[in-house]
Amino acid sequence: MPGGAKAHLLELQNVRTELQLRDGVLTAVDCVSFHVDSGETLGIVGESGSGKTMTALSILRLLPRSGRVTNGQVRFKGRDLLALSEGEMEEIRGAEIAMIFQDPMTSLNPVFEVGWQVGEPLRLHRATGGRESMSKAVEMFSRVGIPEAARRVSQYPHMFSGGMRQRAMIAMGLSTEPSLLIADEPTTALDVTIQAQILELLRTLNREFGTATILITHNLGVVAGMCERVVVMYAGRVVEQGPTRDVFAHPQHPYTWSLLHSIPRLDDESGKPLRPVEGAPPDMLQLPPGCKFNPRCPFAIEQCSKEEPELLPVKGAQLARCWVTQAGDELTEPGA
């Protein structure tokens, strides 16, 4: 990395992604900067429409037809992915960076054998032959805990349950042993019991393969259990990031604070009512001036509706995009 002491595996700098809609240009991702180091697991949390998935798709340049990254850099192993040709990008996808998606029911092609699909990255990137890729698929099936792997590879997706399909997707992603795996809400579409199994599998494989993982989720519990660091997104922006432990213990952005206070806890005996995040998610085509969270923020001060704060170090290793905490004030229960 030019001028940097240590090179990150992946580093986003000021990435902006725009979608051309009928009603105008929607900035789905704006001023997004974060990094991922080798072997670590980074969580990205935020509500639907906060730009998590668009950020991931921007990294791999898999945006829908209407989407375009209009600003910033995505540096992966020192190369700017946004400057690569489509052919060079194809060599990175599936080989260096793999991605698994939210809905395993629709992410596999219904008319091809699952083993054929799982072995495809190897055939594409490692010049593996057809038969060899099938035996590798059998091996990967066993590693991700699909029983009767040898028989299962020649079955079709409709013969797999949701959990098994997601396992197959993970097998597909990891078959080439990429350095980075992006998992976009990998458990959202699954039953709760299966969710835990898939997360456990991801954790184990992350350790075994040493693959860095970006885990996109709207579930704070998943982040707490899986990720060393977390990035919180709101309205297409990173509003807070830092070590998971610190962010959960003392959030430095009111949005994170509100999210954490909206989670019911079994061990909470105080009987206090839950505090949902007030207001509605922002209209991405008509964002408010100033801090994008200010209309819903219980801590907002006058400055918040006038000027948008930057993402700056606030406390320890935590960064936040908030005038209040940047001024050194604590976020405590309003009225307390």
Binding site: R93, G94, F101, S107, L108, N109, F112, P121, L124, M172
Partner: protein
Amino acid sequence: MTTYVLRRLLLMLPVAFLVTVGVFLLIHLSRGDPALVLLGEDRSPQAIAAIHHELGLDQPLYVQYGIWLGRLARGDLGRSVITHQTVSDAILERLPATLELGVVALLWSLLVAIPLGTIAAVRRGSVADHLATGFTVGGVSVPNFFIGIVLIFVLSVSLHLFPFGGYVPLTRDPYESLRHVLLPAIALGTAGAAINMRFTRSSMIEVLNHDFIRTARAKGASWRRVVFAHALKNALIPVVTVVGLQIGGIIEGAIVTETVFTWPGVGRLAVESIFDRDYTVVQGIVLLAAFSYMFANLLVDLVYGWLDPRISYA
């Protein structure tokens, strides 16, 4: 799979029975009198009655139908009223020419439709897409005899690139045979090509929006590979349905084309027989057309199973 085919063939029997009733009624309600054709100038009532008696036309309709069905069950389509050749011989003699024309027309329609439809879908809104749409509108709205006449005029008469009509059996001279079949096949297949192209395009557009296409892209597959290796097999499923209808319709489509190109196939035999009031031959040909629809349907269902593993024959 074998049991499935057998079951399907068995299920065809009741349909086939209904088809024979339909064909028989249609022909006998609409036919002119073959006696008039046979007799020429001498049209005395006695002569007409004699011929009616000879052909069994003086019997009640249900008796005539019973006799015909009974022979049919034994594989006997009867004899031509005019030439006395057996109907099956008359049809079999003409069938190779029609099959050659039909197969080449079908190949032409698919070779045009699938690549064009795919390109139009991938490059939606591009010049190629608009040209393909123009081709569709033209292909469907211009009748195939007109396409035939234009092809003959431009490529045969003016440019001397192709012979204008006639048939050379494939077994005698494959090259000449193909040269002769090309223009009628294009005339016959273009409307189908236009429809198939439209189906391929819309089906491909839909398939390309599926999540599994993004998965394939995320694996590092190139666009070309995504389209042809991942999407096409999915996109062909609806196309197979219309192609099946076209296979069934080859004989009826060939009627006009074969006449324009003086192609000695079943279609022209049908036209000649209709003019001659040769109702036994017409019956045989209509029956053949109906059966080819039924077999095309079976074929379509089998191809579905091959394209889409979710369809099972159990």
